[in-house]
Symmetry: C2
Amino acid sequence: MNATLPAHLLAMERRAVPAEMIAALKTRFAERCSTAQSVREQHGRDESPFEVAPPDAVVFAESTEEVAEVLVLADRYAVPVIAFGVGSSLEGHLLAVQGGISIDVSRMNRVLRINDEDLTVTVQPGVTRNQLNNEIRHTGLFFPIDPGADASLGGMAATRASGTNAVRYGTMRENVLALQVVTATGEVIRTGTRAKKSSAGYDLTRLMVGSEGTLGIITEVTVKLYPQPESVSAAICHFPSIDAAVKTAIQIIQLGVPIARCELLDANAVRAVNLHDKLSLREAPMLLMEFHGSAASVAEQAQVVQDVAREHSGENFEWATTPEERTRLWTARHRAYFAGMSSHPGCRTVTTDTCVPISRLAECIDLAVREADEAGLPYYIVGHVGDGNFHIAYLIDPAKPEQRETAERLNEQLVHHALKLEGTCTGEHGIGLHKQGFLIDETGLATVQMMRVLKRALDPKNILNPGKIFAL
Amino acid sequence: MNATLPAHLLAMERRAVPAEMIAALKTRFAERCSTAQSVREQHGRDESPFEVAPPDAVVFAESTEEVAEVLVLADRYAVPVIAFGVGSSLEGHLLAVQGGISIDVSRMNRVLRINDEDLTVTVQPGVTRNQLNNEIRHTGLFFPIDPGADASLGGMAATRASGTNAVRYGTMRENVLALQVVTATGEVIRTGTRAKKSSAGYDLTRLMVGSEGTLGIITEVTVKLYPQPESVSAAICHFPSIDAAVKTAIQIIQLGVPIARCELLDANAVRAVNLHDKLSLREAPMLLMEFHGSAASVAEQAQVVQDVAREHSGENFEWATTPEERTRLWTARHRAYFAGMSSHPGCRTVTTDTCVPISRLAECIDLAVREADEAGLPYYIVGHVGDGNFHIAYLIDPAKPEQRETAERLNEQLVHHALKLEGTCTGEHGIGLHKQGFLIDETGLATVQMMRVLKRALDPKNILNPGKIFAL
């Protein structure tokens, strides 16, 4: 956690939190309001490379009403408020760059209503995706959104998360049906219903999804569920080059194959995963795929994909036929982030998140690889390539600021290239602290200005996770 | 067009359009700015049962820049502006209840960029869905959203439209990737990119989708396309009761069958369609279904669905195997609205649009039928039952105000029932003029209040389609 914040963020002033507000919180929440340094520091960091920016106090909320009470106080004293789930943000969302109160919602972790006959479930924001899938397993349904980390549903909604299954099942954008939200003044509102579709006024649900805690605090999330597929098969396929693997993925999508997961790992990522998870995968570019459907449909999808892979010199599929093998492979994939880091002990990562139209993906990855190779920084690549989204993680020595600068330069070059290809600077991690300049490059200033106008309208005192997405 | 507007809407005052603004428009647009009564009246109505509320002038715009020029003038003079596509709204969206300028975008009808290798297309707002599908046919792709009417893409985006294919392909909510929008001050902004997913700031695209022209005027729409399925089969199946048909649909969804279309027609709708389209369908409740996929997948889906239908005493499927037969059936389905009206010459319809969680659908339709039967008004039912959405159209004699009152009472009872079942008052038609009270009932006043705050922030002079969705 040694990397420093960009200068314009460091220049932000911490706002005063009056002693009487802290006193009021301690009176109300007793030991569930902490000002202990260790607790504050734990809540002032996330998986981003920035140094800790601790809040002034942490409140462990146990209900919507309690969140609303904190907001009423925060409104009165114009004090920043940041919701905290499990802390898995990669973009500095949880750093209290202007001080204030962190509301830890991890104790709001109940699955409230399973409506299996409607394929929906309503949960508190602290429920994590693995917990949710465990609690609904008996229904025969599952929740597909899978960002790797065992993130909270509240956090996933707030960053519009996605992950490995998005190619078939969509992202949080497509899968959140309804929300309960506490506003900047402590009012509790509901957006959306459990109906599958609606044309009832502004889509406040999707305005909140991806708003990174800057427009309201999410206290309930209703999401879609899906029947567990009758048949699931996972396979890996090695390729002579990244380009061949990516071109295979592109063609799979263009053919409309309803593949459930289509993940790229470059040789570096495979090597790291082998070391970290004691696997013996061939250290070559690889697609890790999963097919969902009826037995016949899975077989058919796999056949089409094998044919496509062969055209691009892919090897024969190696199948993970048992659930245990599948779990082992996907666990390894999800640990690639930690595997990559542990391959260079003491390092930190700077991770890109560009997403481009599928036909531009090969060109975009090719450029990223060439520039990373030229720069000489260690890196690895994992990618949700079925969606046109990939991450190149540059491994940097925090004691060498020039490495961080190099990584940031590479990231910037890649983002600008992705924007030229009509893509986005962030497929799933969000803007947070890190990509505010990229957001302007991507949308243009007028569009960010519209976002600011909305922010000011809903949060005139700028107390909801201030300093994130854009400077006001 | 004899039905009168509700009293609170009639009470709205038309706002003055200064003669110098009309003069400026006529100077700029010459014969493309019309104040002829017939043109104004044509642009002051839609398919809703309300009487004409003509704008003061109609401008036929041919480019984004021209739309922006009109907005700059409208901003200067604080004059209402309403975008007009093909006029197929069912909820009064196009009525100039406060006067002002109608911007007809039907001449902005070019398909701008077909990116078939990315499965996206960018169009001007006046492109209709049939035109779009004709122009992209050679690519092997299609655009699935199908609200029945040959609506414009701009209008479909503005009302968050859906239709018969939504059960598999989603609505405009899921299928719009990016927009170009002219703001209330005449600024041109872009939202979204052609990347399939993004976490880059507020989801302004989805804020605009469904905003009914009240937050900006859509001047370009980028939507997702899909490979034309290898195999398409349509089938009809008759049932002894509406309930049996609906329960079949519910089970199909709960089983996760990826059915492409699953439409209910009650016996009245079938009768009307038979008369209007010279068909000889059995006049009993019926599901009209379509399956997309590989030949094997289509066969498999159809088998599952036949088994389910049989459990609910459905008859054997009658297959529409040739494209011509399929087109005939779907054309009949799409004409049900006009068929229903022509079954009672001179009548108007009041059409409900509730959408409920799928498990509640049978109960909801059952209540609608019982209450309509008791009231003694002629009606027919068509429904996108795979989505939990259905329309009961009450046929009323415009000369008999008590019939309209009865229909409105039935609609209100149904909406309130649907809301109790955790559904929405409108699945796809929008709020417009007609459902403003229902919106408050559905979301609560605080949520509508948040919508108003957003509206005031983006359109402080209230010139963008004022009086729609909510009263300010």
